[in-house]
Symmetry: C3
Subunit: 384 residues, 3 copies
């Protein structure tokens, strides 16, 4: 948009036509703020120091506070007068004090364990609590559980199975981006856009992609997997001309699934995946290359923001892992986790649906929405 040609005013609402909205997926349609009863990655552990840090997760304001090796998560609001605890002071070990009147909370259970300005016998001490959230640290990330279970299920249940008992993670990024989390998740599992949107990405100098595919979605446990039945490297578009994604300096790979690839890493081979890309609740994407896997978490922040967490994993240790780490830091991190997925962020920001009109490759979206619907998840309430 150019300065001259545009204006900031309020646009007229789009008129929705029947069959173009999300009423076929009512649970999904209402999940503006995502799903409760799950573990979500939020920040790198090193991003939370002695000073509390404010985050928003599924629309809930949360203060993250470090105490030694432990990270604690509290509802970010002092019940006294509504001041954010993330602005608080670390007056006594194991506690955080509201900056206003020194209401002091135990980091472990949110108990009001002392009120500095009301003396040692304050009658209200011990009678007020702020909500706390279960926290784990894994792969250098802080994971927070938003849900109602007294005793939440293990973090492992919300991790891809191949990550459950290892420490293979090489690197990653976490950042808040514009747009609802569902657009980000759909973008991740969406087949079609990679072939067009990303054909200007630098990453595509190294990774070729087909011009178009025929695709099927299959279910594998918790996951939906995108299977490529046909791969076309170029197409003669009637009335338009030739459309190609070929690169003369690259060999076109065979349309094999990673499960059938040669020289594949044994951990990835053991997954026996029928396709490269898979997705699962509550919004985790897995892109399996023969030697490494790229993961994305689409963590709901609020209605218009998503926390986008990317992880890169090579299931090896030692020199090979070290070399890959170097490759990650010098290239993959800014080419793929940076410039490539910034194109996705751009689309997730500007898109506006429903209404929508779906096409053949969108069977990945509808399969994902249907799978969400069938899993009967607990929607985070949201008052419009």
């Amino acid at each position: 948009m150019t300065t001259n040609a545009t204006s900031p005013g309020r646009p007229r609402p789009e008129r929705r036509q029947p069959g173009q909205d999300w009423t076929s997926w009512p649970t999904y349609d209402s999940a503006v703020l995502g799903f409760r009863d799950h573990w979500y990655p939020v920040l790198w552990s090193e991003q939370v120091g002695r000073k509390p840090v404010a985050v928003t997760l599924l629309g809930e304001n949360i203060a993250l506070v470090r105490e030694g090796e432990e990270i604690h998560a509290l509802h970010d609001r002092c019940p006294h007068r509504g001041v954010p605890l993330s602005l608080g002071r670390r007056q006594f070990p194991g506690t955080v004090s509201c900056p206003y009147h020194g209401w002091t909370y135990d980091l472990k259970d949110g108990n009001l364990c002392g009120v500095l300005t009301d003396g040692p016998e304050s009658p209200i001490a011990g009678r007020v609590k702020v909500r706390t959230y279960p926290v784990k640290q894994r792969f250098g990330l802080i994971w927070v559980y938003v849900g109602d279970a007294e005793d939440p299920h293990p973090l492992e249940d919300d991790l891809p199975e191949e990550l459950r008992d290892n420490r293979f993670v090489i690197g990653g990024r976490t950042e808040v981006r514009k747009g609802n989390w569902r657009f980000a998740a759909e973008n991740g599992f969406d087949e079609g856009h990679a072939k067009y949107l990303h054909n200007t990405a630098l990453w595509r100098l190294f990774k070729v992609m087909p011009a178009w595919n025929k695709t099927r979605i299959v279910e594998r446990g918790d996951w939906l997997v995108r299977v490529q039945d046909e791969v076309h490297w170029e197409a003669d578009m009637p009335g338009l001309g030739k459309w190609t994604n070929k690169r003369w300096w690259k060999r076109m790979p065979l349309p094999d699934a990673p499960g059938k690839a040669q020289n594949i890493n044994p951990v990835i081979k053991s997954l026996d995946l029928p396709g490269f890309v898979s997705i699962r609740m509550p919004g985790i994407l897995r892109v399996a290359y023969p030697h490494f896997i790229h993961y994305e978490w689409y963590v709901p922040v609020d209605t218009d923001h998503v926390r986008y967490v990317q992880l890169m994993v090579r299931f090896e240790t030692g020199a090979r892992a070290g070399l890959f780490k170097l490759k990650y830091l010098t290239a993959i991190r800014w080419l793929f986790h940076g410039q490539f997925t910034a194109q996705d962020a751009w689309m997730v920001d500007v898109m506006n649906a429903p209404p929508e009109k779906l096409y053949r490759p969108d069977l990945s979206l509808t399969a994902w929405r249907r799978k969400v619907e069938q899993s009967e998840p607990k929607v985070q309430p949201y008052e419009r």
Copy 2:
């Protein structure tokens, strides 16, 4: 306003008294976004190159795309997932492709003529359309028709008659300004403000204006014309003192209408105008000087913005036109089309009506509103 003295908070709504609102003109009152079924000038042709340009017109988002000499206008939203087509790529001649999945639209009719990521036999190709808008180029400007007619009336019907078959335009400006289009149109035809608001304008070093007038509004075909029955160059205001707009270095002109002026350009003379200033639907102002005419179009953008298009026309060719063009570029453009009308833009931005309390010279406003009302125009719908 000074920083110290003001604050950004929400003001209390003004209480409206009966007789001070716009209920006497219900059509006009509802025409927040203007009138359909008209041609509107939007940008200079040279402002649209190969890259699409986004504009908003009557609240509708439109992508302007150049193909050779032709300019095309499409609804600026890909029906697939709601990405603006103005962000699209020019992949194949005569088309624009949505940047997300390569949905490719024929610029002429908005037909989805190919879907790059769905192959040559995409079943959806040919079955989706984006709305297109009729476009013309005239006087170096791009004109867009917003309406429902299959076959819209000629652009000529929406032009002042003296401009229909010529190319005399000398120069102009087009820009988006703050404020609703109706305030801008009323400001243009409003008699009173020129005498006070503009008496600090540099343009007034050259053009004198009366202190006050007695005025009548007469109808001439599509136009309303402001006729000056009495012209007063100064006034003794009781209890206040002398109020004058005289300039000692200028002769006061006679209160003649342009139709009676000496040395008048024959085209302007033939209009036989009873007054200098006239207005017509859908919001066109004509200020006729003896040797040139200044026009303004008040093009609705959204509820709070108006596209303000100014044209300066001298009905001559050759050396005289060349000299005037020089005068326009060196003086008129910044003195009149710039600083002078910037004072109008200021008022259109800060005014806030209804409620309002009209005075004698406001018969120009009420005549205009009544004329709009009588012409029974098709109001662009707007949901508050």
Copy 3:
């Protein structure tokens, strides 16, 4: 909050629990924009010159205009088309003219005394009025009365009694701050926060404060006074540790009320105050030290802004007053009226109540709310 960890989205509304809201004080609860029929300080006289100045007071937009020694206050809206009169010109003595059409108003009574663009016999002149507001100047400040009384009560009735007939004011500040005026007033009279929030203020290098108190609120005429029954300079907080506000370089003062202090200024002594801090309608705080008094006015601007007016008074003249003035300008002004109360401004901005959970020291808040309720004030209307 750090850039990475936060996002600007809309937070979920807090769920209110019974007994945590303001329904016990319905008048107070509705007084978002404060109370009518009072005099409010607004700006320093010297801040209003020949050019009109716009202010907002209790949600009303007001233009302040100087004419010689007099300051006049008019509703900041020309009834003609809604242009702010604060943008107007000073065309004739004793008047202000709307910049748009020269509607000219008498500063004394708001009468439309001339319409420049409608000639000397304009039929509307004398038939339109803009609302005016009574204005006084006192202590170098402009005071504006917002109310419905034909003949308002004297400014003196809205001043602390000790200020009624003197000119002892030394200095002060006036500025618009974020947050509703009630949060600012409550913060002023609130006992607890001074001991914790301000224990990092530079001012506290000179003024010691207890760690916690036992407090009583007593009524003295128009005022509520906070009385310290017990003063504790430090506390052993069970399970936490020692909490102290002692300063080794300062002697702890006795918990005496200013009325009993030695060497007290005779004017302050005569007030016979049982405590340092008192508050009264419509939102005036008095902090009495033995030799000077600090006052705060919490003047409602709009729902989210408060005009915070601080005055420092030493009830003396001559050399002593001169020395104190020097001390004020070099230290008190930025230490106390600046950095110290900026901590308050921070809290008033970030706090968000109800819901709230009150503790023992909050009896100052409830006493104040009850007193407001009992005084049956006239609430400034506000449409949510």
